[in-house]
Amino acid sequence: MSSIALPHAPPAPPARRLSSWQAWGAIFIAPYVLVFLAFVLYPVSYGLWLARDPASYARLFADPIFFRTVVNTVVFLLIAVNLKFLLALWLSGFFVHERIWIRWLSVIFIIPWAVPSIPTIFSIRFMFNPEWGVINSVIFRLTAHDGPNWLNDPHIGLGLAMLTHIWKSLPFWTLILIAGRLAIPREQYEAASVDGASAWQKFRYVSWPSLRTLYLTSTILSMIWTLGDFNSVYLLTGGGPADLTHVLATLGIRYIRLDQVDLAMATIVCAMPLVLPLMWFMMKNLSRADRQ
């Protein structure tokens, strides 16, 4: 005795409800979409259009500063970011130890990231002033010799800019890696202890495999963002001396201030060969992480 005891009603056509819920979905997402269209899509398209003239690139390459800037940028990216991440990796291991004073230290540690760049980078700039800065004063007091002319040497200047960049952004990435470490179940370390692993072995066989993807993805993302780090160079050296410490970010802005918009845009486009492979690595790493 099965089911059907109904007069045969024609089955309703499969209805496509243009439900009001979908309509509301569109309304809720609209504000952001407008923001994106007006302030990302349009500027990027406009910018690319401004950079269309090959003559701009010819002029750009002819500018003696340009080549030096590219070298600076590559050096900055490779050295500063990797050094920063090695420090972050090491510090994240330090900060996961559970002590009250370490917790307080971690709160203090975040300050460079939380406070604005202007006063802090200027502060570093003044510390290194060759005449009256505290660094050289201390050196003089200790050795009776004058300290080096820090920011007037292009190599030292760039090095200090890198150090400034690390000072500012290290806390953020250390936090990220700390979160990564905390996600590793404690039992894995306990099992390793029972198996007799040393601290280095625990890192190599427990911590690193879990952190590796996060580390690499973060490094790549940080490289993309470091390409855009204007403050560290501009506020410390202004690009000097004699425009020798410029990076692509500051160079672009320099052209804008000189009203050479096309050169500014050309600078940006020239940075793309650096950005795009990084973007591609990001995507690959992210999708690999997703699949895990």
Binding site: Q22, F28, S117, V134, A179, A183, F230
Partner: protein
């Protein structure tokens, strides 16, 4: 014995970390309480610490500080506007993507994140031209909208992650109870998202308050610039009163430090929430 060894190693490591972190900050503080002469003597502690610099700032007595109060007001106004607008936009977008499951939501999310693949300094230049085209240059709104553009993608992402943790059955129960999308948003979604909203609002606010480059490009008039840009002007002359600059910088740096300290638990949790989602 082993424990003592380990503790002392940790303590030993703490010292350089502390020095490295605080040295530039201490230096700001040092300058702000120094008179002009002692500041330039390279001392590590002023022989006659003074609060006179702050008086000068508050009374707008120096050439570079003539519009201090207007400028700090601009910084505040813009920061709050960015915080509020980012919250509004991102909350609605996250609601649409996560709860209403709007068609194309995932695409919008990915496009939003694409904003971060353009280094900020590079986006600044076309943004400057675009704001010019919109006629917004030198208006506070140009900086507000630019910062919202920069803060929103991360905000949407964090809010979406947090929102995805809420069981979908709550929405279904509300729908059966008779809720319209607006009622669901107002009466169920917002109350449950409050901690994340606080974290994101604070994040956007701090981002805007701390911003230099975009403010520098988009604002130019003395009375519209933010405090950050005003501070940048100090550098242009050689004999600027650096101790005043540092004192003003200290004032400028205090709000973010204080807010960060007050909300640190929200911030750290909220900010790293998405990082290790795997």
């Amino acid at each position: 014995m082993r424990r003592l060894y380990k503790e002392s190693v940790l303590l030993l490591l703490a010292i350089p970390i502390l020095l490295w972190t605080l040295l530039p900050i201490y230096h700001i503080f040092l300058f702000s309480i120094s008179s002009k002469d002692s500041a330039f003597s390279g001392a590590l502690w002023p022989d006659k610490p003074t609060l006179r610099n702050f008086g000068t700032i508050v009374r707008e007595e120096h050439f570079y500080l003539h519009h201090f109060w207007v400028q700090i007001w601009n910084s505040l106004w813009i920061a709050v506007a960015v915080g509020a607008l980012t919250l509004a936009t991102a909350t609605c977008a996250a609601f649409a993507i996560s709860r209403l499951k709007v068609r194309g939501g995932r695409t919008v999310m990915n496009l939003a994140l694409f904003t971060y693949f353009i280094p900020a300094a590079f986006l600044a230049i076309p943004m400057y031209k675009a704001m010019g085209a919109y006629g917004l240059l030198n208006s506070r709104w140009s900086l507000v909208l630019a910062m919202v553009t920069l803060a929103a993608p991360y905000a949407i992402w964090v809010l979406k992650q947090a929102s995805d943790k809420l069981p979908y059955e709550l929405d279904e129960a509300a729908r059966i109870d008779g809720a319209t999308p607006l009622q669901l948003f107002r009466l169920v979604y917002l109350p449950l998202m409050t901690p994340s909203l606080v974290a994101i609002g604070t994040y956007a606010l701090l981002l805007a308050w701390n911003e230099y480059l975009y403010a520098y490009l988009l604002l130019s008039h003395e009375r519209t610039i933010t405090l950050a840009v005003a501070l940048g002007h100090f550098i242009s002359a050689d004999d600027s009163p650096w101790e005043l600059l540092m004192a003003t910088g200290l004032v400028y740096a205090l709000p973010p430090a204080a807010i960060y300290y007050a909300f640190r638990r929200y911030m750290v949790g909220g900010l790293t929430a998405g990082a290790v989602k795997a």
